[in-house]
Symmetry: C2
Subunit: 492 residues, 2 copies
C-alpha cells in the first residue's frame, strides 16, 4: 500500500514536472488546474504519511515529517515543491484548514467542561506566558546571544509566549482524548495565552518603535483584548441558544445548517483577526458557543419507514428498544459534515507547516546550538506552567502547551520588519518553533498512552480483581477445594 502510493506519487511528480514545463503557456488561463494537482499530491502524501498510525503515532506527526521532506527536496535538486511553498492559494487553503480544525474542535468541546477547568487554565496560561518571557528576555537570551539590542531580547521573549494549539489539539483528537480534562485545560489556556500574546506584541512593538510605552497604553490594549473576549463569551451565551432555536426550526435540509454553522465560524475567525487575535481563536470560540444539539439532521426519512415495516409483529417493548438504538444513528451531526471539509483542508495545513521547516538553517552549528538552548527555555516555561494544572496530569498539560507556531513567527517577522530582530535571532526563533512543533506529538502520544495504561491498571484495582491464572492461584484453589471436600466427607 505504502509502496503503491509512493509509486503513484512518483508518477505524479514525473508527469507533473514534464507537463508543467511544457504546458505552462497552454495552461495560462487554467493555473487553477496546477493547484488541483498540488492539492491532490499534498493529500496523497499526507495520507501515505498518516500510515504512521499503524505504529501508534498520531497521523499529524506523519503529515509534519512528510512536509519537512517535501519542503527540503530542493537540497537533493528537486525543485518542484518550491513553487508550492509560496503559492498564495495553497497557503490560504492551509490557513482555512487550521481554522476549520479549531472550529471542529470547538464544536466537539463542551463549554461546561471548559468552564470547569477555567481556574487551572487561567493559571497555566499566566505562568506559561510569564516564565518563558522572563527567561527568554532577561536570562537565557542575553546569555546565549550576548551584545544585542535590548529590544531584540524583548522580541525573543515575546516569541516564546504563545502556544499554537493546532498541533496539540490534533494529537488529542487523533488519540480520542479531546474530552479529557488535560485537553480542555490546554485548549482554554491556549486561548487565554493568545490574548496575552496579543497584549505583549502590542507593548513590545510600542517599546521598540518609541523607546518606551506608557502604562495607560498597556492598560488600553489589555482592556480592549479582554473586552473582546468577554464580549464574545457573553454575546455567545445570549445568542447561541436563540440561534440554536432558529436552527432547529430550519427544515430546508442539511445544507442550510451546515452553511450557517461554517459561516459563523469563518466570521468569528475574521472578527478575531480584526481585533488582532489569531483567526483560529475566533473559530474555536465560535465552535465552543454553537450548541451541536441544534445541528442534528434527520438523515433520511426512508430509514424510518424501512425499520417501521421491519419491526411489524415485534412486541412493543422490544420495538421501543430497537427504535432507540436506531434513532441515534438516523441523525447526522454537524461534526459529521465538518469532518469531510477537514479531511480535505487540515492535512494541507500540517504538510505546509512541515514544508516551511528549512533544514538548512539547522546546518549552521552556532544557530543550532543557540536555538537548542532557547528551545529548552520554551519547553521549561510551559512545563512549569503545567504544574498549575490542578488535578489533571501535569506533564500532559505542560507538554501540550509546548508547540509554538504562527504567533511566534509573527512576532519574529514583525520584529525583523522593525529592524530589531536580526537574521540570526530570526533563525533561532524559527528553529525553536520547528523543535517545539516536531517534538511535541511523539512525547504527548507517549504520555497519553502511559496514562491510559495507568488508568486501566487503576480501574482493575478498583473494580473486581482480575482472576490471574497463576500457578500460585491454581495451587491455592486446589488446596481449598481439597479442604472443602475433606470437610464434607467428615460431615457425612
Amino acid at each position: 500500500m505504502i509502496v503503491s502510493t509512493l509509486l503513484v506519487g512518483g508518477l505524479f511528480f514525473g508527469l507533473a514536472g514534464d507537463v508543467l514545463a511544457s504546458g505552462a503557456e497552454e495552461a495560462s488561463h487554467g493555473s487553477a488546474a496546477v493547484t488541483f494537482l498540488w492539492i491532490a499530491i499534498l493529500l496523497l502524501v499526507a495520507k501515505a504519511a498518516s500510515l504512521v498510525e499503524k505504529f501508534g503515532q498520531p497521523s499529524v506527526l506523519g503529515e509534519l515529517v512528510a512536509g519537512v521532506i517535501l519542503g527540503n527536496l530542493a537540497i537533493l535538486g528537486i525543485n518542484f515543491f518550491e513553487q508550492v511553498k509560496t503559492d498564495s492559494i495553497i497557503l490560504f487553503l492551509a490557513e482555512l484548514g487550521v481554522v476549520i480544525l479549531l472550529f471542529q474542535i470547538g464544536l466537539e468541546s463542551n463549554i461546561k467542561d471548559m468552564r470547569r477547568v477555567g481556574i487551572p487554565a487561567l493559571l497555566v496560561a499566566c505562568i506559561g506566558v510569564v516564565v518563558p518571557f522572563v527567561l527568554g528576555t532577561y536570562i537565557v537570551g542575553p546569555l546565549l546571544l550576548p551584545n544585542l539590542d535590548p529590544n531584540a531580547y524583548l522580541f525573543l521573549g515575546a516569541a516564546l509566549t504563545a502556544t499554537s494549539v493546532g498541533i496539540t489539539a490534533r494529537v488529542f483528537k487523533d488519540l480520542g482524548k479531546l474530552r479529557s480534562p488535560e485537553a480542555q485545560i490546554v485548549l482554554g489556556a491556549a486561548v487565554i495565552d493568545d490574548v496575552f500574546g496579543l497584549i505583549i506584541l502590542a507593548v513590545v512593538s510600542a517599546i521598540a518603535t518609541s523607546g518606551s510605552v506608557s502604562p495607560a497604553t498597556i492598560g488600553l490594549i489589555t482592556a480592549k483584548s479582554f473586552l473582546f473576549l468577554a464580549g464574545s463569551i457573553i454575546l455567545g451565551q445570549i445568542f447561541a441558544p436563540r440561534l440554536g432555536k432558529l436552527f432547529s426550526k430550519i427544515n430546508t435540509g442539511v445544507g442550510m445548517k451546515f452553511s450557517l454553522a461554517i459561516s459563523i465560524g469563518l466570521f468569528a475567525a475574521f472578527a478575531a483577526q480584526m481585533i488582532g487575535l489569531a483567526p483560529i481563536v475566533g473559530a474555536f470560540a465560535a465552535g465552543l458557543v454553537l450548541d451541536p444539539v441544534h445541528f442534528r439532521f434527520f438523515r433520511d426519512p426512508q430509514i424510518v419507514r424501512d425499520i417501521r415495516s421491519a419491526v411489524k409483529g415485534v412486541n412493543s417493548k422490544t420495538r421501543e428498544k430497537i427504535f432507540q438504538a436506531v434513532e441515534r444513528y438516523s441523525y447526522r451531526h454537524i461534526e459529521d459534515l465538518i469532518e469531510p471539509v477537514a479531511f480535505l483542508l487540515v492535512p494541507i495545513f500540517f504538510v505546509m507547516t512541515g514544508m516551511s521547516v528549512r533544514l538548512d538553517t539547522m546546518f549552521n552549528p552556532s544557530i543550532l546550538l543557540t536555538a537548542l538552548g532557547i528551545t529548552v527555555v520554551a519547553f521549561l516555561g510551559k512545563l512549569v506552567a503545567g504544574l498549575a494544572a490542578g488535578s489533571a496530569n501535569k506533564l500532559i498539560v505542560g507538554f501540550g502547551m509546548i508547540p509554538r507556531g504562527e504567533v511566534g513567527l509573527i512576532f519574529a517577522t514583525i520584529g525583523r520588519g522593525l529592524g530589531v530582530v536580526s537574521d540570526e535571532v530570526f533563525s533561532v526563533i524559527v528553529v525553536m518553533v520547528i523543535f517545539s512543533t516536531l517534538l511535541t506529538p511523539p512525547i504527548l502520544t507517549f504520555l497519553l498512552k502511559r496514562q491510559k495504561e495507568a488508568d486501566s491498571q487503576e480501574s482493575s484495582h478498583l473494580g473486581l480483581p482480575r482472576l490471574h491464572l497463576s500457578p500460585y492461584l491454581l495451587i491455592r484453589i486446589s488446596r481449598r477445594s481439597l479442604h472443602w471436600l475433606e470437610r464434607r466427607r467428615r460431615k457425612s
Copy 2:
C-alpha cells in the same frame, strides 16, 4: 427567516465596510481573514437565495440571481463586492467548486446508464456543435453584425458550440433527476461537446493566426483529443476495478478513501486541462469511472452492537429483516463525504458566475438586440440537437444543452487576444452566455415538472384504474349489487 438572514447580512456588510477600511493595514499579515469573511458572506447569500426552493425553483437559480445582484451593486454605489469579483482565491474556490460538483455528479452517474445513451448523446453533441456553428458563422453572424473580419464570425460561431454542463447538472440534481435518461444524454453529450469545442478552438485559432489551416493539422488535433478521451475510458475500465479492490481493503478509516477519491478527481481535472479540455470534464470522467460500491464505509461498529442487544428475543426472521433495514444506512458512501465539501464550494461557483454578469453591458440597446439574436441562435442550435435524443424527452435534452459558460468565454477571450474579436462581439458573446445561463434553470424546471405530472398520469392509466368515487360509479355499483341480489333471490 429570510428577513433575519438579510439583517445578519446587512450587519455583515456594514461592519465589514468599516472594518475593511480601518483595519486594512492592521490585517496586513492576515488577508486570509478577509477572505474568510467573503466566503461567509457568499455562503449566507447563497443559502438565503436558495430559499427560492420554497417556490419550486432550483436553488441554483437563486444563487445565480443573488450573484447578479451582488455583482452589480456598484451601480448603486456599493463597491464592496468589486474586490471579491477579482480575488484570485475566491475565483479559485469557485473553480474548485465546479470541479467538485462535476466529480460528485460523475460519482452519482452510472457508466452503464451512460453507455446505454451513447448513440443519442453522440448525435446530440454533433448536431449541437454543427448547427450553432454554421448558423453563427455563416448566416446570423454576418446578418446581425455586418462588415466584420470573417475570422470574427468564426470565433462567434465557435463560442456558440460548447455546452457548459454545470448549471444543467445542478438543476437535474436539485430536482432529483440525475438518473433520468435525459440527464444522462445531456451529461454525455456535454463531454463529447467539449472535445469538439477543443478541436474547433484549435482550428479556428490556427486559421485566425496563419490565415489557413491544413487538413493534416485538423486531423492531428482531432486524433489527439479522441485518443485522450478513449484512453481515459479504457484506462478507467482497466484500473477502476483494481483501484476498487485496493480501496475495499483499506481499513484505515474514512479519511483515507475520501482523500484517494478526491485526489483522483483533482488529478483528472488537472490532466484534462493539460490536454486542453475543461477541468470539469476530467473530474466528471473520474467520478464516472470510480465505482462508488468500493467507497462504502462501515460507519460505526457501535451501531451493530447496540442493535444486536436491542433485538434479543426477537425471532430470527424478523431479526434478519431489521438487520437488513439498518445495514444499508450503517454505511456512509463517498457521496455523503463529498457532499459537505460541495456545500462549501459549489455555491461560491454559482454566486460568482452570477457576479460576473455585467448588467451595464445590457444597457447598450444595439449590443442587447444583437445579443438577443445570437441567443436565439444559441437556443435553436441546441433545441435542434435535442431532436436526436431518441426516446428521451427531446425538449428537456435540448434545453439542457443550452447553457454556455466558461468555454464560450474562453473562445471570446482568446479571439480578443488575437485581435479578431472586437469589444462589441465580445460583449455580444458575454450577454449570450448570461441569457443562456439564466434562462435555462426556470425553463428546465418547468419542463421537468410537467414531465413528472405527465408521468404520474400515464402510470395511473397503465396500472390499475383508480377507483373514482364519482356519483356515476356509485350508481353503477348499486345497480349491479341490486341485480346480483335479485339473481340470488331468484335462485333460492
